[in-house]
Symmetry: C2
């Protein structure tokens, strides 16, 4: 099934592809690209309220995908759904760090146990499939050295990071031991249209975008000097396509980072400039957030560039220029009237 | 509660100490040392058949410990038991790598989820306690460099190793974020009296000892050149005592390795020499074992030496000289008549 890197898009014609978390932010973006490439797309999503799944995310492609509402925690359902899939993009997850610290067991059920369910299902019912796992930079914890390469120690500092690390290790192990081809993409901060913005517990970037659009105040913790890199969601989706199409990715982890690191305060200034609305203020770090903050972080993505030919192509400014009009047009599908605009 | 390293034994006088997995191999050895130091010992063990718990392991100290049969998977039970404990030695676990590959979900329930239960119980009902976790060298996977220090990448290669890594990360995170003091001891191959020997799915060393005693053939995989280090169980227990008594261990991981690495074939020759019985033969690697074999491994234990003053003091030969007579005298408590001697 391996193809030259340049051909990764044609690989998907008529392929059966399953996307767990396929109604979410990255999953739905991937689904949109896949239907254009001629893939037969099965979207699996639990649509748990407060999680990232949103039926509007597949608006316009509803007739070209199959949607199966299911929870990855249901083992027998997974046993059935994985059959005959050529590629499984495995993006279902609990993604809130804050929630994981309040309810660590739910995070474990979704991010560890369900990953075993999916991989066991593949091992027993579809060992020939390929699984691409949505990993996270969070597995590195506070970086020892920047930029962070895949050789950096895995030392997550919150429950979500620990469970995502375990989920990733399972994938690599099933590749190495059971021959279920699998790899992991360690995503940095992904941004773009179709992200959850109805609450602020799934990362700050989408929340900042909402605040700017609503002409509200963005609070920057500390002096805003901390560095991050941001990757536009369509670039991230392209990394999944490349990883799914090539056997060079098997058993590997890859950083998937943005074009260049930027300080929080510069990010916010750029966002407000592009939006033409919003304002910001520096505030003290809330202690519960400081406790799981990781300081500066940006990734070295040269391994995936070298191996799969992937590079981010969308700058932060270009990404904002495409994201802000999207939400301005479709805000009612992401924030209900009762929720907007309220101060959380 | 911190004390000078030299005083770690007197620290335990009248302390309330809980040992999960306390009827097991290391747990019961620790219990025996603790009662001699005047501690008030609560042993918690599930006595799951085929696991390491064995009531005979506390023979002679039954009247000086409190035994509570319970499973760490029962959250409400853990919530109750952790209260008022000064130190918790957390050794309950599923320890068979082979079993973890056949039934990964049970391994996850015990080695991940239950660890969250125990730590959440501490966070909510006894945040002042100290938890010492029984970690494992298995989190390192196949070593990149020898001897392996604590800076080595965590990259486990089987389900058990992954779940033990997650369990360890939870402990460190609860230390850093929730202030539940905790640390982890990454044990290499521990050997000595009171180890499970009724089957061969919990590590090879105890099984080899049984085979030698029963004058049976020991099979050495490949050419037997692979190196390991071995730590005598009483030395390992002393590492737990030191880690539990000192706040210098908080938030840390420590390798707990043996006196010197030795090749499998030399280990087996020494064992047969000391036993005066047994024989060996070189055989091909069984593929399912080769897949999760890690090659040479030995640990650098200088961090725990430097921080807590711990060093292994028992050589492999001395350890065998104490272990073999123990099993010869008490074999009937470790192997039932129906099981001995059968070829598995």
């Amino acid at each position: 099934m391996s193809v030259p890197a340049g051909d990764h898009r044609s690989f998907y014609r008529d392929r059966r592809v399953m996307i767990t978390g396929g109604l979410g932010f990255i999953g739905s973006t991937l689904a949109r690209q896949l239907v254009d490439l001629g893939a037969r797309v099965l979207i699996v999503d639990s649509l748990i309220p407060d999680y990232g799944g949103n039926l509007f995310n597949i608006h316009g492609i509803e007739d070209r995908v199959h949607v199966n509402i299911a929870d990855v925690r249901q083992q027998s359902t997974m046993n059935y759904l994985v059959r005959e899939q050529d590629v499984i993009f495995n993006l279902a997850g609990q993604v809130s760090h804050i929630d994981s610290m309040e309810d660590p067991v739910t995070d474990l059920e979704i991010n560890c146990k369900s990953q075993l369910f999916i991989l066991e299902a593949c091992r027993r019912y579809n060992a020939g499939t390929k699984v691409v796992y949505a990993g996270t930079r969070q597995v590195y914890g506070r970086p020892d050295l920047l930029p962070v390469t895949e050789q950096h120690l895995v030392k997550p500092i919150d429950v979500n990071g620990i469970n995502k690390a375990a989920g990733e290790y399972y994938h690599l192990m099933y590749n190495d031991v059971f021959g279920v081809r699998a790899c992991s993409l360690r995503l940095t901060n992904v941004f773009g249209p179709r992200h959850l913005i109805k609450h602020n517990r799934q990362g700050f970037i989408a929340w900042f975008i909402r605040l700017a659009i609503e002409d509200r105040e963005i609070q920057i913790y500390g002096d805003g000097s901390q560095l991050r890199d941001f990757v536009f969601v369509e670039d991230a989706a392209d990394a999944f396509l490349r990883a799914g199409a090539s056997d060079l990715s098997n058993g590997q982890v890859f950083n998937v980072g943005g074009t260049a690191p930027i300080a929080h305060r510069d990010l916010v200034e750029l966002l407000i400039t592009v939006a033409g609305t919003g304002r910001f203020r520096f505030v003290e770090w809330p202690p519960e957030k400081k406790a799981i903050d990781i300081g500066d972080f940006y990734a070295d993505s040269s391994r995936i560039a070298r191996t799969l030919g992937w590079k981010p192509t969308t700058t932060l400014r270009e990404g904002f220029e495409r994201t802000i009009p999207y939400y301005r047009t479709h805000m009612n599908h992401y924030v209900t009237a009762a929720e907007s605009p309220v101060t959380l």
